[in-house]
Symmetry: none
Subunit: 220 residues, 4 copies
DNA sequence: AATGAATGAGCGTTCATTCAT
DNA sequence: TATGAATGAACGCTCATTCAT
């Protein structure tokens, strides 16, 4: 029972966790409040003591986790100076935290996007803050001369976000999901050095980009 | 009336277009078949002469457009040799075609993804073919020595797709959407040359990357 | 095709036969006019050139067969003098004709009775005439001194009808239907001589009732 | 309101009664669940708290009453020794209980038989038990020497059942229904003594069968 | 706070019937 | 006559939400 756990917000938490499970399993529209109540071991009506509506429940799931995520990402970055390290850290956190809770990841990647309304809410909320952070990282990278000055930080941030997002979605949909975190290195490789080969790249760095990536990763 | 239009598949087409409009406006679950029928100026039951179910209608919207898109992208590429040109052409087409029909874009970016089931269907179908194409482009770029040989083509393809996808979704959600096509250039800039500045880049190519991009774009 | 058969009423007949088959198989409410049309190899709309409505089609099935049945029963009886022979002949015809067309029997025993309205129509129509005939037979039997004079001909007629009807329904419902006609003899045995043993029956007729039954049956 | 009635199963009962009324009035297919709900003074959805489906509701009507009926019939018989008395008692109960609730009788005689499927369910269930009981009565009558030993108990049971059933159906369909119970006596007369006159019957029992029937009836 | 029985609006789908061809 | 595409009214059932206890 969710009763004795901690007393206070234990029931609320139980409901939220149940919601994540049920939404992930059946999808938002396929999920019935009754299912959530059953999983949370709570009466139907009790849900409404903690959440205004089904939609509010989904929103709560979002806010419960997303806020913390962005905040921690910012804190992580505050302790780093190299924007490449920042990106690496943020993306690793991103992938690792979703990998740790697949149901939650499903809700974030799929269920939260089932309507323009919801999508907008996310886009204006947490995602926007996340993009903002990425943009700042890119900006500071440019200032530091680490990133190319021709970059459009807005577009760059979206490219980064889109890329990670796509990897996560693919992972969600995969039947036998491979590791998510492992994909940070090749992802950063593309993001950092792009697709194109610069004429003298090989001369500059024998052994190529892999070494660089390893170098970076190794230094953390 | 949809009657006299062209005679044959006119009604089917009218229904499909109505579906796109209604799905885009109200979302798949918010849309009632009756709405679709009304917009198509057709009786409720008529919908079922052309489509098996609401879900089938959504599926049909997908297949009606997605297939053609990938095919054309392939045809476009067949006439080009430089993989950079290929990417540019494909992404331009991608953005341009969605920009031309915002309702359709909404359905593709949002409604078709409302459930794991549907998402999977797409991921295994058209999107997978699209990714395949991108992967081939990257692969040929590597072979030609235009793209870096360290690239993981699979990850690179996902990065490209994720980036475009993110741009489109952002455009869908924006209240006053700016041009989509205009974003191809900065997008390619990031994708081609990455975030990082290579130490001697400035020396090699005065004027930097912008010039290169312009050069490429200008040549088309 | 039902085309060339005889020209005129061939199509009407084809539809009626199709209706019997479909009604028997799926039940009146489960049957769709389209099914009937398909079996009759006719367009949906054509049904309405021959019958006013689905209900009318069922009614037509009834009238097409029931009328003839009662008429023939009367004709049969006209050639007999012994009311016991009459009953036997009528019931044999009854069972034999239904046994010959199980689908038709199904429609008569089940589908035609799905509503009070229809049941009433039958009860007032063909069944009433059939009961009338039975009643007359009983009446003449009483007059002739063959049947007991205490009989209430109305009740007797209903008992006879109910008994046959029940046998037919049981036959319809049976998975592996045994012969129907074979049941006439034991049925008549009960109807003619009742359940009770009259005190001196054994004395009067050694060998008992079986012999009598055989005697009667044998004489035909 | 059905609320305060008895508390517990009151609502379920109210729904069942409403169903009987509505099914009897409009027929199973003509009846809408909404009608049932309205008559039961209950919300539409409430029906589904007590019954799985419309069909389940009809089934429940059947089982609610039929079981009790057969059980009571058996109990009645257990206290009697003369199979004639048994038959009389059972049939009287049968007719009396249906006469007491015409709507219920309608459902039993008509609505429960609207499809082969349902008819089969009944035939295999309650009716089969009823027939079994009748068969046993006939059997014991034969053993006791009260009934003729030539009887085929199976056929005899069906004759009895068919006869009663027919009387009830006729009563249901009649516009101005006469008494049902009153028909037991003439019914038994036919069933007991059959149609045929045995040669010396008049001698044996002056006053004929009527007297015997009265004798029997009078003794109860 | 917690319950869960009750509510009732809402929707996808079917199918008898029509009618322009 | 015949067709079959089109119609649109109708209905069983679901489920988010409420509220008396």
């Amino acid at each position: 029972m969710a009763r004795g756990e901690q007393g206070k917000g234990a029931k609320r938490k139980a409901i939220l966790e149940a919601a994540v499970r049920v939404f992930a399993e059946k999808g938002y529209f396929g999920a019935r409040m009754r299912d959530v109540a059953a999983v949370a071991q709570v009466a139907d009506g009790t849900l409404y003591l903690y959440f205004d509506s089904k939609e509010d429940l989904l929103t709560a799931v979002l806010e419960e986790h997303a806020q913390a995520f962005v905040e921690r990402a910012r804190r992580d970055c505050a302790q780093l100076s190299d924007p490449r390290h920042m990106l690496q850290t943020v993306l690793e956190r991103h992938l690792a935290s979703l990998e740790a809770n697949r149901a939650l990841a499903t809700v974030f990647q799929i269920e939260l996007r089932h309507s323009r309304k919801f999508l907008r809410r996310i886009a204006k909320g947490q995602v926007s803050q996340y993009l903002q952070l990425l943009q700042e990282i890119v900006g500071s990278g440019v200032s530091q001369g680490v990133f190319r000055r021709e970059l459009d930080p807005k577009v760059a941030a979206r490219v980064i976000f889109g890329a990670v997002d796509e990897l996560v979605t693919a992972w969600i949909l995969a039947q036998k999901p491979s590791g998510l975190k492992e994909q940070v290195a090749p992802l950063l490789d593309v993001l950092f050095y792009g697709l194109c080969r610069t004429t003298n790249q090989e001369v500059q760095e024998k052994g190529g980009n892999h070494e660089r990536t390893n170098h970076l990763t190794g230094s953390l």
